[in-house]
Symmetry: C2
Subunit: 404 residues, 2 copies
């Protein structure tokens, strides 16, 4: 497997989060020669918040997590890669139920405080024992979190990913931290496609406050990325707050929200940079829309257009395709008010090509790894930014071969 | 250019439509060694109806046609391939205005009875003379329609098409006919992407009746096809009725609607079969939905999913991706009521894989040129069928190279 050309040079240094322990194992269910199971445990009193796929055919683990979230406590997270336990019927529910029961017994914690995530093939049921027989070993191997273990965990949850994804931030004015790992490459679309992200902090915060800030932060990060417009049945973002630091939400809410935003956005960008076959990271900014909703729809229409994405892959300043994508979004637009930029180069305004437009400059911008496209709709003052990657032959190669 | 493996063996025999004359020419604007201009004239009293792209950034010719349609008469149609005259600002309007003025003068018909269509690159204005200097020659060369000329016209309007598209049908119980030509391959999506279709009949019918039957027929044919979910700024379906036969709408409405449906659907299918890089023609039927609108949205969600389309290209019975596409459509669905078929093979029901599912049989079906996928939602009795093609590396190759 070739590593994405957009991958960071190395996995970042990531601190221990007080109250968090990690272990990984090899289940042998799908992958050879790598760990594909990850257990993370949280000390007593850890609060949890989450957002999930909006797919109406969600997986069994997603259903389980959504229900538990009402209790507000998270003490253990078990994640397996290779089989999504989605569309697996009654068997899928058994797998979830049995996994939680075994962990609950072994760790002496309530089943309702246990979280599960699965990623991989859809529609292939398996015996719960294929997971649960590894739990004793996982529990025995638990160690306090730290860079090496965060990296092992980030690697254990990958499927078609070409690099492990991690990010961390200090919460300003405190010693508390936010640390996260994530996986996901293809099937990443609005409202969280095959993407798993697990974030941890030692901040003291209630379940309700945590849920609110997580939803707000996800709406401008994880929910603003797309690789291929497809949406998975398994996406989950889970945030655990151990409360082991002396710093509380009420006095540090802005600093905490800012750190969460940094980690969410960094992980979201890494997911796009690992888009299947991606060679360019693309930021699409839409300004001047009548509503934020319209701005985001137009931005996503551009970001999901196969014709725009193939033009970017070819470093071809084919701005007609951007106009096309604005026009097909279904949102209000006026051909003569619309302005389009590639990088800093204004390519179109007044219903035609900008007279001083330099195709050479636009092409030079498209030759970079990081591409920026901006559309100003000219109708209002609302804005949205989304991130995507280009569409290359490698995407087809990967997805015509992989059973996901 | 390789001809699509799904192309018909040869251009069909197509009769003369009384009252219709055709000529083609080479403008030299973009293509070498082929005609790219087509003039079709209609005798006095010819009624016209049309449906157009819903893009909010429509091309200058589309704006022109929409306005003229209110008059209800069509006497001449001029189409050029290579430049879409879209997003060309005031210059684009001049091109349209000047073309109509020259034809009006030379043919002695009102400007309001003249129809224009352009397809090709977006955003590159040109001088009207580049088109109009060929009009005298086109008018001198006009000849009564017939197979050879229909084929020349169908070839003159192509861009990335790999074969010319034509279809005709007799109107049952009459000597009247419906004849049509079309172009379009990439950028074909719901609500008519870069697709031009021109249809002609000698039936006697009023503008209002014609408009109504054209809209109804387009909604279950041209508006039910997709190649890549992208929508062009130029799509137009124009239907001209010369009234030169003795057969009138009021006594033959069912037979006429049926013949129109045959021609529309045949042309729509040919467009999909020429989808860029297509190797398989795919019919997607959704049954058991609560509304027709929901059925079509779910069908289009499956048809537009890059992951479904790459799996079909690979002849991989990866039905989990079909479930995913149903789930992401946003329409009501219940995992446990959903049933999925590949060909005649029931693959999933009751929220899991059908116990007697044979992957071998599903794979055998996917090895055919014509693939059928069906999803029953289990919530109601509404239905929709849409058509698409698979997604191959060749799509990327074509679109990363072509400036459309």
């Amino acid at each position: 497997m070739t590593i994405s050309p957009l991958a960071p040079e190395e996995f970042p240094d990531m601190p221990n989060v007080p109250g968090i322990s990690i272990s990984t194992a090899h289940s042998g269910m799908r992958y050879e020669n790598r760990d594909d199971l990850c257990l993370i445990t949280m000390e007593d009193e850890t609060r949890v918040a989450g957002v999930f796929t909006r797919s109406l055919c969600a997986s069994a683990p997603v259903d389980w997590c959504k229900e538990n979230l009402q209790l507000g406590y998270g003490r253990a997270l078990i994640c397996n890669a290779g089989n999504a336990n989605a569309f697996t019927g009654a068997k899928g529910e058994q797998i979830v139920e049995k996994s939680a029961a075994v962990l609950s017994e072994s760790l002496s914690i309530p089943k309702g405080h246990i979280y599960l995530a699965s990623t991989g093939v859809i529609g292939e049921a398996f015996e719960p024992i294929e997971l649960t027989r590894h739990f004793d070993h996982l529990i025995e191997s638990l160690e306090a979190s730290g860079t090496a273990l965060w990296k092992e965990a980030a690697e254990a949850i990958t499927t078609t990913d070409t690099f492990p994804k991690g990010s961390s931030a200090k919460i300003n004015g405190t010693d508390a931290v936010v640390v996260g790992i994530a996986k996901g490459s293809g099937m990443i679309a609005p409202d969280m496609a095959t993407m798993l992200a697990f974030i941890f902090t030692d901040m003291k915060i209630s379940h309700d406050d945590l849920q609110k800030v997580v939803e707000e932060t996800a709406s401008s990060s994880f929910n603003c990325i797309t690789v291929d417009s497809d949406t998975s049945t398994s996406d989950s973002v889970l945030v655990f707050a151990t409360g082991k630091s002396q710093y509380a939400w009420d006095k540090n809410s802005e600093a905490f929200a800012a750190a969460l935003q940094l980690v969410f956005k960094d992980l979201a960008h890494q997911i796009v940079k690992d888009g299947e076959g991606a060679t360019k990271f693309v930021e699409i900014e839409v300004t001047g829309a009548e509503t934020t909703h319209a701005a985001k729809n137009i931005a996503m229409s551009i970001a999901n257009s196969p014709l725009v994405k193939t033009a970017i892959a070819a470093e071809d300043a084919n701005w007609g395709r951007i106009i096309m994508a604005v026009g097909k979004s279904g949102e209000k637009a006026d051909r003569d008010l619309l302005r389009i930029w590639i990088g800093d180069e204004l390519v179109a305004e007044n219903g035609q090509q900008n007279p001083s437009y330099s195709e050479k400059k636009a092409t030079q911008h498209l030759q970079k790894d990081n591409v920026k496209i901006r559309a100003d709709i000219g109708l209002g003052s609302c804005q949205a930014t989304v991130w995507t990657c280009d569409l290359t032959e490698r995407y087809i190669e990967i997805n015509a071969g992989y059973r996901s």
